[in-house]
């Protein structure tokens, strides 16, 4: 238990240091607001009657796992070690591995290009600390927190929502507050929407030519997130030591919304 708590504190400190590091050392705009910026976000303390308490009760701490990853297995913490990532030749993915990887991706998004849902619980209220794991990616004891595919943005939960219904525990509530009391049947039905499937391998000019990038690179500019050595088995590149991906693999101006409309799509009939 104490080890867990220590780790929590460690992570919080690390996240805070990372955030502070990010914000310091920046040139001033000349219109200074720095003097007003506190070291960390602070609530008004002058009005305890109105100030909503942010602290948890001791009972909660004792009885429940704490924080957004509370639902993760204990093993997560007990096997705290980074799996070493070797930048060596990887065997090309098999068709089965690739199909499994695509199926896993598809299960977490409405269509190819939709932001994936979050498969674990999150803190619903605070500014998210998602980058602690997902900025660089973490692979621990079989638990894999993927590196995000786009450059960091501040409000992660704007696009990514938790898969499992919140409020936590409320799904079990019975009576009028529970899920059985629905008078609006349409909600319970699945959608008739069929999303665009992920593209398969990119086209090649001749056997042996580097494949084109078959998907947009918008919000997917960090190729290594999926295709790098710590990426998804089935989608990883066999040559992870090469860093400049678009030197050989061309993105599609059409898919990236860069093509002037007048030129049309390749092979298209307008």
């Amino acid at each position: 238990m104490s080890g867990q708590r220590g780790l929590h504190i460690g992570l919080v400190v690390a996240a805070t240091v990372a955030t502070v590091g990010l914000l310091s050392g920046v040139e001033s705009s000349g219109r200074e607001v720095s003097s007003y910026l506190p070291a960390r976000p602070a609530a008004s303390t002058a009005n305890p009657g109105n100030a909503a308490s942010a602290s948890r009760s001791y009972r909660d701490m004792r009885e429940t796992m704490y924080g957004p990853n509370a639902a993760l297995s204990d093993l997560w913490w007990q096997h705290l070690r980074q799996v070493p990532i070797a930048a060596t030749v990887l065997a090309p993915a098999t068709e089965e591995e690739r199909a499994a990887a695509l199926a896993r991706r598809a299960a977490r998004r409405a269509y190819d290009g939709a932001p994936p849902i979050i498969p674990h619980e999150i803190d619903q209220l605070a500014a998210p600390a998602c980058l602690t794991c997902h900025d660089r990616g973490v692979s621990l004891a079989g638990v894999f927190a993927p590196r995000m595919s786009h450059e960091p943005r501040a409000s992660c939960v704007q696009c990514h929502v938790a898969a499992r219904g919140s409020p936590e525990g409320l799904a079990a509530a019975s009576g009028p507050g529970g899920p059985d009391a629905r008078t609006f049947a349409g909600w319970q039905e699945e959608t008739a929407f069929v999303g665009l499937a992920a593209p398969l391998a990119g086209s090649r000019a001749w056997p042996g030519a580097p494949p084109m990038i078959p998907h947009t690179t918008w919000m997917r500019e960090r190729c290594a997130s999926c295709h790098g050595p710590a990426g998804v088995v089935g989608l990883r590149t066999p040559h992870p030591w090469r860093q400049s991906c678009t030197q050989c693999h061309a993105p599609s101006a059409w898919l990236d919304q860069r093509a002037p409309v007048a030129l049309g799509a390749p092979g298209a009939s307008p």
């Binding site: 009657g49 939709a114 209220l125 959608t191």
Partner: protein, 800 residues
């Protein structure tokens, strides 16, 4: 590919291309813009603004074989620059709930049964002809501009009873009265570019992290890039926005009036107000009794004296805000070199003193000169995609005409009669009923003053979004002689209670135009067919108008005896667009817009020709033609640096109430809200939205990813209040007000944290409808109700 398959694919592609071209009309200026090409993956991408909120993000819609299959953020769009929120990414799924309405339904023997469109049109015409004065249209800030314009013309030019009002009355009417009383003309002077330039972002009772996420990201992503910006959250409950803010200042409900007065008081006391700006561009104003938008003049000394009692100590008593927090806010406004943007939305608008608080926030900006430079702006946000475009600009309100004109002014009626080719004196000078009044009269027997007998609802769900539903909506469903017509896409609570249900096309199933919060008018083309017999709302309005014309309703003729709505093909021949099979023979949107556009000149809200919007990702009005023939939009209104109509000085309020190019700085006193917690009902009840759902959830609750993330309504409770009541996380409690009761699970430390003594319930859940409990008390000028404050109590549920 086999030759036969190839031929089939080619034929299909050609047919799809023809369908896509069809939406663009066979004539008119839009035609040169060919349908976008088909990709080799069979997907055709085209632009459309998102269907949901008032931000006005553009999406790229991927269509394959007649269905929407993908959505991408539009990188060419200035509003969102390629980014969307979770609702926007899933907007395409809103079309594909399995219970789409696909045929007209008439209540017969208590049951909704299918009928033909012809019969449905006759039923509506019968109702309108039987009681023309009691026939009302209740519309929406989700109407497209041509839809709203057609309904507006049918009511104000045709039936001439002025009984048309929109749900936007419930969402931004106080912002309108705030702009009118301060600047003499509606809509914000600033725009979203202010978010890129501000040093301080002050959010007044606003939670943009959930409600306008793309705009919020525009600011917090600046922070991530290293810009030093101060985010200040003025709020009654801790929200996701608070989590990103540098300073969160909690205030008690209604305390905003005292805070704004307190800031003004301190600016005057410290002498840090902007003397030059005020001397050059402002007048002072106070209220009259009864209140009007014009008020009466007051001097600076009178203004100062009125504010004298708003000392930090008194403000603390009224609002709960500590003196040092108030001094901090006044200090920010007192610093001339900072750029300060204020944002607000429902917190200030859904307020029984909504006009007053809007005026006061504009006043703080004007008094301190934080106005008219990029990043220095008081900016209200809207919650619906076309609350600005269709309601405020087309004027689909009981008192208004298009382009900022009003029915009460003879010279305005004359202009409208000229554009609509009506005989002089046709337009009724008496405003119709505002929303609350319209529904109150619909829910009252005719012999007791309930003179509204039929309401035709389009694109909204009043059975869940009106306040105090038990008083305003439900009685009408039990009264004889009251007839409810609902045009919608799903069986909403309103549709299920209706007498006649009309299936509608939605979003990219039809052509459309909307206008977002920053004066940006946007356009899209039909991309997929609507399901079954669902048809465009605009066609429905035209078809009913035509039916009335054919049956001799007097108002449906212009002064030459012709039908009010005329559509012509490229050769000038009349096209009967009111026949569904001919509706897309012309671009009806374009022709209605070109007519409507003539109104936009009166208040310098100039709109460009339709074809310009086809090319752009929206343009912000006034859009003025340049000597080289191109059209230029305006970002910063009233500023000489950008607005072509501001010529005299750095800032020119050219529609000033006082006709002297000056804006008005108002004084309004703090006043108590109409209902406050007492011994019997000791809690404050506040309502609002959540990130995942939009309005009453009729679209977003049918999108699995969004429904799973936020499956039901809940009651947010402070931990200490929960402990005092002895209720645990997730326990179902009974929440009651003087108007109704609702059983809801408790969520402690969930999406938000209310202050002690207050609860919050979101309104997206049609099954757990919080508006059974809310209060219909409204602002005296804007007539907008207050959904944010009423008295409630909670008790444990006794086990059944």
């Amino acid at each position: 590919m086999e030759r036969r398959d190839f031929l089939k694919a080619t034929a299909m592609a050609a047919a799809t291309a023809a369908a896509a071209q069809l939406a663009r009309g066979r004539d008119g200026q839009a035609q040169p813009a060919a349908a976008p090409p088909l990709g080799e993956d069979g997907v055709r991408w085209d632009k459309a603004p998102c269907r949901f909120c008032g931000t006005g993000c553009h999406v790229q819609v991927g269509v394959k074989a007649g269905k929407v299959v993908s959505i991408a953020g539009d990188q060419r769009a200035e509003v969102n620059q390629g980014l969307l929120c979770v609702k926007g990414y899933h907007v395409g799924l809103a079309l594909y709930g399995k219970d789409r309405l696909t045929q007209p339904l008439l209540r017969q023997n208590g049951k909704l049964s299918p009928i033909s469109w012809e019969r449905a049109l006759d039923v509506i015409a019968d109702r309108a002809l039987a009681d023309p004065a009691g026939f009302a249209i209740y519309g929406s800030g989700q109407w497209t501009i041509p839809e709203g314009y057609a309904a507006q013309k049918l009511i104000k030019g045709g039936l001439r009873n002025n009984q048309i009002d929109p749900n936007a009355r419930l969402c931004m009417a106080s912002a309108v009265t705030g702009f009118l009383s301060t600047y003499g003309v509606d809509e914000p002077a600033g725009c979203y570019d202010d978010l890129d330039h501000c040093d301080v972002l002050l959010m007044w009772g606003n939670n943009p992290a959930e409600m306008h996420p793309v705009l919020f990201s525009r600011v917090v992503d600046r922070k991530l890039r290293g810009d030093k910006i101060l985010l200040v959250d003025l709020t009654t409950r801790r929200t996701r926005t608070s989590g990103f803010c540098d300073r969160t200042i909690f205030f008690s409900p209604q305390g905003d009036l005292a805070i704004a007065n307190g800031i003004a008081h301190l600016l005057l006391e410290a002498g840090t107000w902007d003397r030059e700006f005020v001397a050059a561009f402002c007048n002072f104003r106070q209220r009259t009794d009864p209140p009007t938008l014009d008020g009466k003049a007051m001097t600076l000394d009178e203004y100062r004296a009125s504010l004298a009692s708003y000392t930090p100590e008194r403000v603390q008593e009224l609002s709960g805000v500590a003196p040092e927090d108030l001094r901090f806010l006044a200090e920010l406004f007192g610093r001339r070199e900072l750029r300060i943007t204020s944002l607000w939305c429902m917190g200030m608008n859904q307020h029984t003193r909504g006009t007053a608080i809007n005026d006061l926030v504009h006043g703080v900006h004007l008094l301190s000169g934080h106005f008219g430079k990029p990043g220095d702006a008081p900016t209200s946000l809207t919650g619906q995609p076309s609350a600005c475009g269709t309601v405020r600009e087309v004027g689909t309100l009981a008192h208004a005409l298009p382009g900022g004109l009003v029915v009460a002014k003879p010279e305005h009626r004359k202009e409208a009669e000229a554009i609509w080719n009506l005989p002089a004196g046709s337009i009724n000078a008496k405003p119709g009923y505002h929303t609350v009044e319209m529904w109150k009269r619909f829910s009252t027997p005719k012999d007791q003053g309930g003179d509204i007998s039929t309401i035709w609802v389009q694109v909204t769900n009043p059975a869940r979004s009106l306040p105090n539903v038990p008083a305003l909506f439900e009685p009408s469903r039990r009264l004889d002689g009251k007839f409810l017509i609902v045009s919608d896409v799903y069986p909403t609570a309103t549709a299920l209670a209706a007498d006649l249900v009309l299936p509608s096309a939605m979003w990219v199933e039809k052509n459309g135009m909307v206008g977002n919060s920053e004066r940006r008018t946007q356009q899209w083309f039909k991309m997929v067919p609507p399901p079954g017999q669902a048809r465009d709302d605009c066609w429905q309005t035209l078809a009913v108008a035509r039916r009335l014309f054919e049956r001799g309703a007097p108002g449906l003729k212009d002064k030459d005896g012709k039908f009010l709505f005329q559509f012509r093909d490229a050769k000038g021949a009349e096209v009967p667009a009111w026949q569904w099979e001919r509706y897309y023979d012309v671009n009806v949107d374009e022709q209605l817009f070109e007519e409507y556009r003539r109104f936009s000149r009166f208040k310098h809200k100039d709109l460009a020709p339709y074809g310009e919007y086809v090319k752009a990702r929206g343009l912000r009005w006034p859009v003025v033609q340049q000597p080289d023939g191109s059209w230029r939009e305006t970002r910063f209104r009233f500023s000489r640096s950008d607005d072509p109509y501001a010529k005299k000085a750095e800032v020119q309020f050219y529609h000033s109430v006082t006709k002297d190019d000056r804006a008005l700085i108002w004084f309004h006193p703090w006043e108590a809200p109409p209902e406050q917690p007492d011994a019997e009902y000791p809690l404050w009840l506040c309502t609002g939205r959540v990130l995942e759902h939009w309005h009453t959830g009729t679209m977003t609750m049918r999108i699995p990813q969004l429904r799973r993330a936020m499956p039901q309504a809940y009651c947010e409770l402070h931990r200490d209040d929960a402990r005092a009541l002895g209720v645990a996380q997730g326990e179902v409690v009974v929440l009651e007000t003087r108007r109704g009761r609702l059983e809801l699970p408790v969520w402690i430390d969930g999406r938000g944290q209310p202050a002690r003594g207050s609860v919050f319930v979101p309104f997206f859940d049609e099954s757990l409808a919080i508006n059974l409990l809310t209060l219909e008390a409204h602002d005296p000028l804007s007539k907008q109700p207050d959904y944010k404050k009423c008295a409630a109590r909670i008790r444990k549920r006794v086990a059944p």
